[in-house]
Symmetry: C2
Subunit: 506 residues, 2 copies
Amino acid sequence: MDAIIQKRLGNKELESKVVSADVAAALLSDGDVVGMSGFTRAGDAKVVPMALVERAKNEKFQIDVYTGASLGPEVDKYLAEAGVIRKRGPFQADAGIRNQINAGNVMYVDAHLSHNAELVRQGIIGPIKYAIIEAAAITEDGYIIPTTSVGNSPIFAQYAENIIIELNISHPESLIGIHDIYVPGEQGKRDVIPMTKPNQRLGEIGIKVDPAKIKAIVISEEPDAPSMIVPPDEETQTMANILLDFFRSEIKAGRLTNTLAPIQSGVGSVANAVLDGFADSEFEHLFVYSEVLQDAVFNLIDAGKVDFASAASITLSEELQKRVFGNMEHYADKLCLRPQEISNHPELIRRLGLISINTALELDIYGNVNSTHVSGTKMMNGIGGSGDFARNARLGIFVTKSYAKGGAISSIVPMVSHVDHTEHDVDVIVTEQGIADLRGLAPKERVPLIIENCAHPDYKEQLWDYYNRAVEATGNQQTPHILEEALSWHVNLAKNKTMKKEIAKA
Amino acid sequence: MDAIIQKRLGNKELESKVVSADVAAALLSDGDVVGMSGFTRAGDAKVVPMALVERAKNEKFQIDVYTGASLGPEVDKYLAEAGVIRKRGPFQADAGIRNQINAGNVMYVDAHLSHNAELVRQGIIGPIKYAIIEAAAITEDGYIIPTTSVGNSPIFAQYAENIIIELNISHPESLIGIHDIYVPGEQGKRDVIPMTKPNQRLGEIGIKVDPAKIKAIVISEEPDAPSMIVPPDEETQTMANILLDFFRSEIKAGRLTNTLAPIQSGVGSVANAVLDGFADSEFEHLFVYSEVLQDAVFNLIDAGKVDFASAASITLSEELQKRVFGNMEHYADKLCLRPQEISNHPELIRRLGLISINTALELDIYGNVNSTHVSGTKMMNGIGGSGDFARNARLGIFVTKSYAKGGAISSIVPMVSHVDHTEHDVDVIVTEQGIADLRGLAPKERVPLIIENCAHPDYKEQLWDYYNRAVEATGNQQTPHILEEALSWHVNLAKNKTMKKEIAKA
């Protein structure tokens, strides 16, 4: 056996379990519920899924796939397109599986990322036949060392009947030690989670399992699929500046200090761009307490702005992958990867008082946010951790450009076509047009801020027209709407490819 | 001074602060932000508000009123109707103020009941000029002993510039000792909340304040307005039985034991009736961890079913008021009243693993719940604590009758007209027709359970017709809808006084 493999396989009894991906893939049966490692394309098993894709060419079988969050193309494109996935949760972000979901071929359970572990404990998800977990190493005393994400791997490993390990030797050995595996006990019997600072370690460096459960070990050298982030543009830069000015005004109001509060920033280009904005700011000694660490966080660590970053995964562009994973020693004492029920736990989000920044797909004049469904019916990605964070954060901020499709779509509509974050959970909205601070405001007090500060100028008049007529029609009720018309912007878009309409002037 | 008053006023320096209600009411100025005690008509100040109503007959002034939750008629009817309330949060349940809200005369900030304390800390609510707090006593060492609720009183007292006490001597002295006042510190600097059992005490018996902040003490003998609960009927009894059977099946599945898990039950008749159903059940040694304790909880204590009950308030019918408050010694060691940020804290709800039972106004075929807005526009009561509980509970259960207005309204609609609880937060739905266990299901998997098990038979065909056409129209996307029609049931109701329509048969 290869020296590098021997080194990574500290537990020598397990050497006999090393098999090819095909042999491992053959262990699964039609109907199995499978828990897989991986969170936002990081730390997912790759070669076993591709062996499953091969197997599916000659055999019809389906499995339910639960993960940390979105996976790379091996599962969320190729395995999905091979028709192998019957059910999928709790998050995805790949056009491959998205198309299968929206054609009714995959049942997709879009869920809060902190919730899945509880459902596994209760047996609502499960019984889990196999956990398939990418590992950087297995230690002599039997700890599975995850790679670039922790996600739901600990709870899957604990509850799965069998475990398949993908030992990925392309990940640097220096990943060992950056994970902090702490798994709460059963609800009602568990203790407090003893964390009061984002850089506190609670648990162990790996996932302790009964070695007898490990049925196969497959060697892999496949790197994580790089993140598909797009670079900041002028508008995201504007949004970042607006947000930085908002933080300055919060400091002036005595609500924050120059070190702000631990920052969570959601998946995606806009949230990443907003974080990038901190690089040239006066803020310092920042902490990140997030679910995913994207490029911007490492740029901020390099710039000396971020002292410590905690999350459930590291998802980087190809360039940053090289810089970070080739130089892990430099970052190791500034990083911690945790299970997602810890990174996303309401208990910790509220206690630590996070500043939470997530992306909205659309929002309405009263501050309800749609994060998931295009025109109310077509799944985009999923809610991810945005609900965990927004409701419990000190500041629940949503960012979006005010328009899409070259202006044919207004991101601000009379009524969102699907609600993921209710009016009760949205504190602040930022678009490239401006900011609406909704804290403490009644629905009708939010309207002028959202329309005047955040909507695209092309749509302001149309929004005011709807609102004013709704006030009139309802006699100025709590939340004025004209139900016949509330979703008409989306209907117009479907029919005429635009949300713009001629407004009948009074 | 009256002997009973002297006894309740342990701090003798405060005797000089005793004034009439008129004098106290004259302290407030136009534009003041006022924090008031009271939660679900319990423990609210009564005589100072009525003096404000008198004052408003000769003077135009307005104040912002924040409370624990809904108050009795003194504030939420008379003061609102006198035009004194400019803004109100976070909950109300009185037709008086509801009409003012829906006429645009009162700005109403409907909010999660656990959130207000954080907003006070941040100064978003505030600066609070006066806290007006009903007390059963003030101890020698300066603790304000609340009465039948704790609500937000501790945080209001802490942050208010001035305090007015309504010393209500009609409440039994035996209330002293049932409160547990624990107030978390600032977010980011606070410690863990060290509670792992519902009957654990964390804090002190009263609210410690600087006596210099107490500007007036008004003596009151006004009892709490009794709860307006209606007795169980055949249908709520059926719902209770369905729920008890569900708990039995959960025990069989190994997810619960015969003592279940700490139970939260929302405000209102249906939730109360459901709890009543436990009286003749085999379940025992139950714990209640709720925001309000209604009649049913005390019946269950008397029946030896409930070992301990924790909440932020006690709201009883006239009959139960006599039985309980006339005999408080009997209940004192089985009770604890806490601040609402503790009774409703996500940290504790998740840790304790509550069973949460709340009332829905309407819900849709995908499991989204509207708790607040009649036909999307008219505020009913508010979300209250239902969001705090449902999202974080072990079991987030929503109960509603399947129909209203003699059948003209179906509580189950294609798309709810307002969303308070998203599809991600609703575990189980119970109507008098049956139960839908939605845990772990994708939207389209939920549809048959909700329609077949929970909808009223009069509406099943109409719901299926909508759904089937929506599947067809969207090509079976994640969440099929026909946006032109999604809210048409509410439109039909407004126009034709019924949600029923003729279905064009295919």
